[in-house]
């Protein structure tokens, strides 16, 4: 009997580790593959996707800098994405709190308007945006892209945060008010610290979505001032003239910050994802 239960525990451990290895492989595999491919030649990449590079040198990394202004575009991405994350988080943190906690006139209309903006395809709004941005003098500027990306990120982040605020007990706020805290003090000192995991999640979602955004970065810019990494990656692709070696090198260089951000924020993200899961 004892032996049987030992076998069961052992088997379940094996199954658990197989699952874990499988998911680690899915998550890390493509990054490792891109890293290894960044040292391969054009012929090696096209001959076999899984072969080992003949040598590990930095020629492809040098080529990556030669074909595209990747450093400049990378810096633009950091500024634009960073600002859009800050703006989105700041606005959403406030507005979704009000929506989730208070009843007021036009609340449903506001929610409907925010929901409706989720249904607008980028192509449908690109021309009006192009014309408006030119009139306002923010075409081909970082500010223009920050505004667009923030606006694009707000609807999804809004719904995530509204749901999240609903999981925070109102008793905490009531206690704060009884103790004499003002509305602002309650929001800043009580609610925001509790909402941190939710805020980190929307920051992360916003970061990933805007870091990879291509269409508006192309349509609303005309020079190097505001163009971002996804446009730089296109420099390695051409009709009958793809340079996959340099492309992989560029991908490795530009994907690293995303991974670093995730590593730094992963504790909060995990907390956010599991928050409420154990509540009875």
């Amino acid at each position: 009997m004892k032996q049987t239960s030992g076998t069961v525990i052992f088997t379940s451990k094996v199954v658990k580790y197989i699952f874990m290895i499988f998911f680690v492989f899915i998550a890390v595999g493509p990054i490792v593959w891109a890293f290894i491919s960044s040292f391969k030649t054009y012929a090696e990449i096209n001959s076999s996707a899984l072969s080992w590079p003949s040598s590990f040198n930095l020629e492809n990394y040098k080529a990556a800098f030669k074909f595209a202004p990747i450093a400049k575009y990378f810096l633009n991405s950091v500024i634009i994405v960073g600002c859009s994350v800050l703006v989105t988080v700041a606005l959403v943190a406030m507005c979704s709190y009000i929506i989730s906690r208070f009843e007021f006139k036009c609340k449903t209309l506001i929610i409907l308007l925010i929901s409706a903006s989720l249904m607008l395809p980028a192509q449908a709004i690109s021309q009006p945006l192009f014309a408006i941005f030119q009139k306002l003098g923010i075409f081909d500027t970082k500010l223009g892209l920050i505004i667009v990306y923030s606006a694009m990120g707000i609807p999804m982040s809004f719904f995530v945060m509204t749901s999240y605020y609903k999981t925070i007990s109102t008793a905490l706020e009531e206690s704060a008010y009884i103790d004499g805290a003002t509305f602002l003090q309650t929001f800043i000192h009580i609610i925001l610290p509790l909402a941190k995991p939710g805020l980190v999640t929307i920051a992360l979602l916003q970061f990933i979505n805007t870091w990879n955004e291509f269409y508006f970065a192309l349509m609303l810019t005309s020079g190097d001032t505001a163009r971002t990494v996804p446009i730089a990656l296109n420099y390695y692709m051409g009709t009958f003239a793809n340079n996959y070696s340099a492309l992989f090198a560029a991908v490795v260089m530009t994907v690293l910050p995303t991974i670093l951000v995730f590593i730094i924020l992963q504790r909060q993200v995990m907390e956010s994802l599991t928050a409420g899961a154990v509540k009875g």
Binding site: T41, Y42, A43, N46, S47, F67, A68, I79, C83, V87, S126, Q127, F130, A131, Q134, G137, I138, F139, D140, T141, K142, L143, G144, I146, I147, L184, Y215, L218, M219, S222, G223, T225, I231, N234, Y235, Y236, M237, G238, T239, F240, A241, N242, N243, Y244, A246
Partner: protein, 444 residues
Amino acid sequence: MKSKMLKRLLASAVMGTMIISLAACGKSGDEKSSDADDSGKVVLDVINYHVGTDYAADYYSYLFEEFKKTEEGKNVEFNFEEIPTTDAYNQKIKLLISSGDLPDIVFNGGNNITELAAKSGKVADLTPYFEEDAQWKALFDDTSLEFNTVDGKIYGVPVSKEISYIYYNKDLFKQAGIDAPEVAFASWDEFFAACDKLKEAGITPVGMDSADSGWLTNLWMSALIGTAGDAGNEWMNTMYPTDFNTAEVEKAAETIQKMFKEYTTADAVGGKYDPMATHFFNGEVAMFPNGPWMIPDFSQEEKAPEGFYDKVGIMLMPGNGMEMVPTPGDMVGATEEDKIKAAVAFLKFETTPENQIKALEMTGLQPVSNNLDIPAELTESDPLMAQVLEIQNKAEVTYGQNQAYWYQNTIDTFSTELPELAYGNITPKEFCEKLTQSAEKNQE
């Protein structure tokens, strides 16, 4: 009351700080490009997609620099916007056509933008410029100019011709005991007999693909239709066909299905151009359809093994067929007289016989003008290119290809349905029906 006031002040200060910090990322009004710079030069806005790894990046960089050294170009400056890849370029140029903010020189990235631009009224009618310069007009044949004419007016200046044929590996042919024809296999039966011989010798006969518009398969299919008698040839020279259920097209689809099953590599279904080209470079495939722009790759050691250039031979498609389509030409989006003149001067410079030859030398782009004197040094230094120039005159049948003549959504359908055809999930007739349905959507 006091606290309310303080709150408002605080809120205003926060808003103000946000706006100022965001505005710092903006652009001041005087940064916008102007019509003329301080020295009084004409500034032409150009969106250039020949950048990065594009096959013609070096050539266009040369062209812009050289133009500024000419009499017509010495007072011209260029204000470039770079857009890597023609796909991205076409997305943007379509937006600019509808918004009316076209650059002064509008490069043509294909995708049927000539008609769109002409009908929008945002590009200049170049007919008067052709009429007043007979020597320039004489550089182009009627077909090339007609291809760039909309409602009787010429809007585009064609800069090259697109041709394609078959490259073959001489060593693999020898290994299979096949005598390569001087110009082409006389018929498709002879071609497939050679394929069978190659197969018997353990060699994969042809390169094919299906992803990214299925370029290689498109060239085989165009050849099969274009060489199928007068009816097939007429069909393959028709712009925007809508009926794909003709005997010639269905027969071609049947042959393509057979080629996928019997004569190509296992990764052709779902595969794209680059890995298929590598099969050819590595001597794993005997025949590969493509155009002259591929020739520089044969001697690039990064792509092909050393000495590969000497192993490559050229032949036309069976029945002396060759794909040949005029290219959509570059246009003028400028609206002011001096800018239009400067832009036309650049387009004239781009199409001088010298620059057509330079383009041939640097990129493999075929001259748009017929009977140019090709310098002996070029034919000696690049014998394959010389052979291309010679063999194209022996083509008895010419026809178009789908990326030039079909509706965009039909090209997409072709690419997405090819795997279904290859695996036998749909019959050739059903494949053609899907193409017909897709093309007919443009008529609704």
